[in-house]
Symmetry: D2
């Protein structure tokens, strides 16, 4: 398959985006717009649940928000002033519609819908125990574990049941829950995945990123704090912090690649951070060259930073097709060698005879880098120097990011010179881990309690990994439990 | 909507058909064929679950078996030597895919799939109690109650849990359950809904009707007895009877209309019974006429019986379109008066100037009878005498049959002369209740412990109706509980 | 493929049905209903063209009328008081949408739409000449030849151009043409294919069969005469007969199988004729038996006639599935032997131990007869006697009927005893050709100028067959000319 | 409708892209890839015709190349070593499949398929004459006129017929024709629309732009000359020039917006030209500002040129959604004001408090400019100066470009100060016409015989406009002639 999907390439992928809104005349339409702005966080499926004061209404669909949630009959079928939604990236075989969120359950206290960004790292262990006691799971999703913990909790109120449930789970979770009593938003004690709050007139909004506030014209209020639960009810917003205080460890890769450059993540402009990483990279790894060329589109801000710092002109040496949002399956067998050209094309007239610095945000498997370097040489580049705006990606993520198994990470197998040999560049350099922290406004990475979760670079995981330790595999095992629905 | 769907007309409808097969090389293909033969028992959705020795595989689809379960990729996606399936008739708003059976759950003992024909009349009460204890329901189906009762039973073995569950439910159920340990078939203690067993080489088959055995070339072994559980495992078939013995009360309407004329129900040929009802009707309600005309297709066997008994020639005075299996939505507003003609057309050349006896199996709302009588008059019939091969239908069914609310049953509102006035016939007569029992080989209806469930004619319900009594409504209430999935 | 399509079996198939209406408020809705009643004449595609006084509007669709032409947006897209429509049966590879009728062309005189039942037997020769002169064909349909002949005719008025065109074509055609000047209906000089006229208030209707009048509540006026052209314009109906007078030769197979039993064809009730054929068959080929069993549904009227004449009781020994209007593709390979059972099932309880007479309307390849006889024996029949309500079908039709090549016609290869051996019956008899004419009210078949086209029985073709003679193949060659649209 | 389609916004649109290939093993797969690279020239429909030495095969589809022509069964259905293809942008109501190219006809000389980029400006007059002589048109496309002229030409050879036809047409055309005798490519005498030739091993390729050569790895040979016809046959490439020589007038807007920046158009690098226009603009219309911000994506090259010339830093102040390739229909009515935000979002953190220069390639209606300026102010920009990399667009195009009627062109209604008022910028300037020619390497625009067609800026049309002059409307009138196919 020759594909131009912008997200199937050699990147890590955020697995989810979430959005919730309380007290808006067109809650589900707002949610559809918010999810559209979060589409880069999950392209395979989307869902919205609304509450009209009496009933819950849900629509889930495989595919993009556009084409599914922009249809009038869908939005009319989701009435009410409260709604929450979810976009999802899925690994193969897991894309059954019943895994698409928001998940919903009829509890004794009434309906309960939940949208989850993150991953519960002891879900399998909890599930096994719940099934033993008679719970029946509808999905293979780790999120459903939370719902069953709430349903079977011995506490009296829904909020107490919810806190009881969260105290049993481990891992990363930003959650938005819709209940007849109110909208609940929360972030795990380490704040691994992002979550922000906004305001539009009388409406309160929660979303994974601020771009989802921008798209509906809402005002950014603040980020939800790690370990905080915010409950919005008729005429009241309450914040509680039921967990023991811990040093936060938000995901550093949100700043490197996941979040959109126009978002504000935990108070920092993503665009500004990426330019600062590029500038830092120019300082740490300078090169004598004619042109700074970004690998579009994710390498652009760092390339502008690198160009400004180094004084080498920024130029578009690689043109990305406007049509890469769609998968193009290679027709026939004989054209397989065409590879990367469907998505990217060299701007030959510019590049021929030049010494170029290529800027990309990260290297995962290295396959795309290899092809891009070759494309530059084919277009006549005299020298090709690759500069990467993050440290080498050496470890898998277990907190809601789709990473290849470690054996496929180029940086887990090779040192930097080895990687340079592999991609056939004239030189290769990565920004240092302390350089990355510097671009984020820190003096350096704190050795004992680092300011971010940077496990993909360092292997320093901020939580225990129960299912991993038990079984050598976590979410993958969940998929073995269930009925195959075809 | 002007429609030619053969099942949307003025009839009661069986709500489900079930099929299960153990130890066949092509279990799911066999199940698809069996369900196709049972399609008249449920046209709105179908599902098949197979077990390949390791995993369960399920495919569910709205619509007919043909067009869904005859696709190679579907059958290939349902591997294994064991399978069960279900066809379903659904009332409006309940047709969400997650209500389509077989229902499936991962229990602590492994996978458990169930296909159910019938209706649990205390499902709502049981569900309320289960939710209170933390069970989460995926569907609004009464069948799911059984699964949660099994999942939460305190007994040790799966079979004991299953019996424990059945002892708590009330109503009508023929069930086929697929488990890693074996295929389980059972029929409620009264045997309200039918279930038969067949054999094809080494394979054992269970099905709602014998026509599903015929279509795969299987041999009819016997009916499952009321209150019997048959467990088929590797190399063993066991039968147990865990309920206190009761007088059986199988549904008499299976003989009147539900079952196909080529089926054998509880030992009796449906075609022969229907002809006998027609003959009995000719004896009880003779008429001086020129032609006996069936309302096609369900009135044909009784009409042949009536004609043979009376000596009046049997003729096709009404032609049914070959294309009535499809819904034809009336295009435009101005053609609404065309009504019944899309489905039935008068054979004018035959009817003009004749005195005719029209034979139909039953009258529910009376709307079709009214139109058919008028069509006969428009075609020039001199006299139109209507004869019905069942007693007046006066009561709703709560055992898995789709009946209109009582207020819409013509016989609940009017006596026979009133009904005759309503349909504008020259005369109208129904077979007597004792006449019906006679055609079934009984001397008469036993007043104390009648031999059949004939509640739709007599109002004599063989079980308590807990949800009805509690709430004044049963399955309808279930639909209020849940999320609306659009 | 195991299929339950009622029309894919061992029968000849009429290839088209046509309908036209002038001056009705809901012309296109009426046309949709009329085509629905003619669906048995062509199941693969349908089309309607309307004229709103200014523009022509056309919708064509593969598949049935129901599901395509009963959608509000389709009917709203076909405005106007005049419309014509077409249903089509297609041979493999010819089903491209651009072959679906009505065909349409912008002529210098304005728009021109035509719906055609029949086949032009010199279409290929005419087409070759037209292309040589610069005409560009859009389809492979023989009907398009007529349009190009009209477009390039040297005559002045549209009607003269039309007559000029018809005088050059040879073969069978009933045509309905929509033009801004009026609705034109005509039938070829031999009247091979049927066409009737009806009336509904101020509206004039033309249709292949009277059932299409019945469905819209129209009154039957008369059949269009062979060689007659009827032109309906604002406030005027004219009839002209521009061809030299000939003895008509309408298709006799319309009475045997093609037309619906409730139609009146050229003045005769099809049901009554079929019963008369059955009675004639009982006289010509009596048998000592217990039951008369029709092969459903087409054998039923003849079986009633046979039973009434012979005194042997008529019984339903074969039950046809209600769901045969849909194709059921055999799932998997291992179940291929199940064959005919999906469509027909034996009524075992009735048949076991009996001597039966099976009545069918015709035998084409003999494959179905073979299976049905075997099914009766498997069900325990003591003797199986087959009686056929038409003479042996020995020749192909070139006038708009889908016939297999001669080599596949059982009667072209074997004499009657040989056919009996092939189908394994105890005896086999066909009605005689004179017996068939007798049932149609003739004394016998006229040897010199027979009263009907019976070429499929006798090989006596009423026209020359230019393309056949030139090439050894006719319409099949057309398909070789054109672009393959995939 | 709130939409994120990158091409529905305030731009002129090229209406077609064409591609043809001779003698390649996988001709249709190559054509699919080439069309994918030309997708920006037409997004509404695509088609490919192949020739396998015996038959022509065509597939046409509404929608993008990806999703239609990347399916294996489609490519397998287009066998052969020769193919041509077309992508099409369509105005409303014209999108019926039969207008999708390549158009095909069976001529007396054999099959003939044609793909056309451009517009015939006397098509209506020619069509009227052809219909009068008996030609029947299948489409409302001006291209079909050429085919009928070829079919009815009195010349003997196909090539002579083709030249005879072209001599009668007026307007803009780049054509690729597939015939059994060879592949024919030609460009109108003025060379208004582009066409290039490439080479890949033994295969010869023609395409609208060089990016379609790049995607298949082909070598760029040269542009086809204005007035040149190239005929590729087995073992031979011939070039003929059958028209009187004229000064070429290629479309200047290809350089401004239509062509991809990585294409070489008539020998010039589009990216380099656009940067040069930006630099010229910085010289002609300097401004004291903090940031140069491109309107993505089409304004980027000119913005880089402007930034480099002016020394003001280039920054991404507007982020374009990755998902703008899909239409997002605005859900509900209440969110209509959200407008442009779905497609573009302001990078607030960067812009707040800054004086910015916005660079766009052109202004058509002005609606997008108005919104973008407002978005910048909402994000806190202190000053917003708009600079446009083309002269004001004041006239409609009749040569295959979709332009709004003149009354909707902002520059046809207002002078530059008036336009500045309309879009609420602090200042507005356009590059001068001579400045544009300078960026293209000319000294200035030649007053008498200008080097380019720049009619959209100057109103100086290089051909007569027969249909316009006759009727006051051209292609729109064609659509009135034909049957509406719904």
């Amino acid at each position: 398959m020759l594909t131009t999907n912008p997200f199937d390439d050699d990147k890590l992928h955020e697995e989810c985006g979430i959005f919730g809104i309380w007290n808006a005349e067109t809650a589900s339409a707002m949610t559809a717009l918010g999810l559209h702005a979060l589409q880069h966080r999950g392209q395979e499926a989307a869902g919205i649940t609304s509450w009209d004061g009496e009933h819950f209404h849900t629509h889930r669909a495989m595919g993009h928000v556009a084409g599914n949630f922009d249809r009038d009959e869908v939005i009319r079928g989701l009435p009410g002033r409260v709604a929450c939604g979810h976009v999802r990236y899925s690994t193969t075989g897991e894309t059954a519609l019943r895994n698409v969120q928001p998940l919903y359950a009829d509890l004794a206290s009434g309906g309960f819908a939940v949208a989850h960004n993150g991953n519960i790292s002891n879900a399998l262990k909890l599930r096994r125990e719940l099934v033993r006691r008679g719970s029946i799971f509808q999905s293979t999703s780790d999120t459903e574990t939370i719902i069953h913990l709430v349903a079977t909790s011995a506490y009296r109120t829904l909020l107490d049941k919810f806190i009881d449930a969260l105290r049993q789970v481990e891992g990363a979770y930003s959650l938005i829950c819709l209940t007849p009593e109110g909208l609940i938003a929360c972030r795990d004690p380490l704040g691994i995945r992002p979550l922000v709050m906004g305001k539009l007139g009388d409406a309160i909004i929660f979303a994974s990123e601020t771009v989802a506030l921008d798209v509906v014209g809402a005002e950014y209020v603040r980020a939800i704090d790690p370990g905080e639960i915010v409950i919005v009810t008729e005429g009241d917003i309450r914040s509680i912090r039921p967990f023991a205080p811990m040093n936060p460890r938000p995901c550093i890769f949100e700043h490197v690649y996941f979040s959109r450059p126009d978002s504000i993540v935990d108070g920092a402009s993503v665009y500004t951070v990426r330019k600062a990483i590029g500038a830092q990279l120019a300082t740490e790894a300078p090169v004598d060259a004619d042109l700074v060329i970004p690998v579009p589109d994710s390498g652009v801000p760092a390339a502008i930073g690198y160009a400004q710092q180094s004084g080498i002109p920024f130029e578009l040496g690689i043109i990305r097709s406007h049509y890469v949002g769609r998968t193009f399956i290679q027709p026939g067998d004989k054209v397989r060698h065409l590879g990367v050209k469907l998505k990217h094309n060299a701007n030959r007239a510019l590049i021929a005879g030049q010494r170029i610095v290529l800027i990309d945000d990260s290297i995962v498997r290295g396959t795309t880098s290899l092809k891009i370097v070759q494309m530059m040489r084919d277009a006549g580049a005299k020298e090709v120097h690759m500069r990467i705006a993050s440290p080498p990606t050496r470890h898998s993520c277990f907190y809601g990011v789709d990473t290849p198994e470690r054996a496929k990470l180029l940086a887990a197998k090779l040192d930097v010179p080895g990687m340079n040999d592999y991609i056939h560049a004239d030189s290769l350099a990565f920004v240092s881990i302390d350089g990355l922290y510097k671009a984020l406004g820190q003096e350096r990475r704190a050795a004992v309690r680092p300011q971010f979760c940077d496990a993909c670079f360092t292997g320093d995981y901020p939580t225990t990994l129960t299912d991993q330790d038990d079984l050598g595999a976590s979410t993958d095992q969940l998929s073995l439990l269930a009925e195959r629905v075809i």
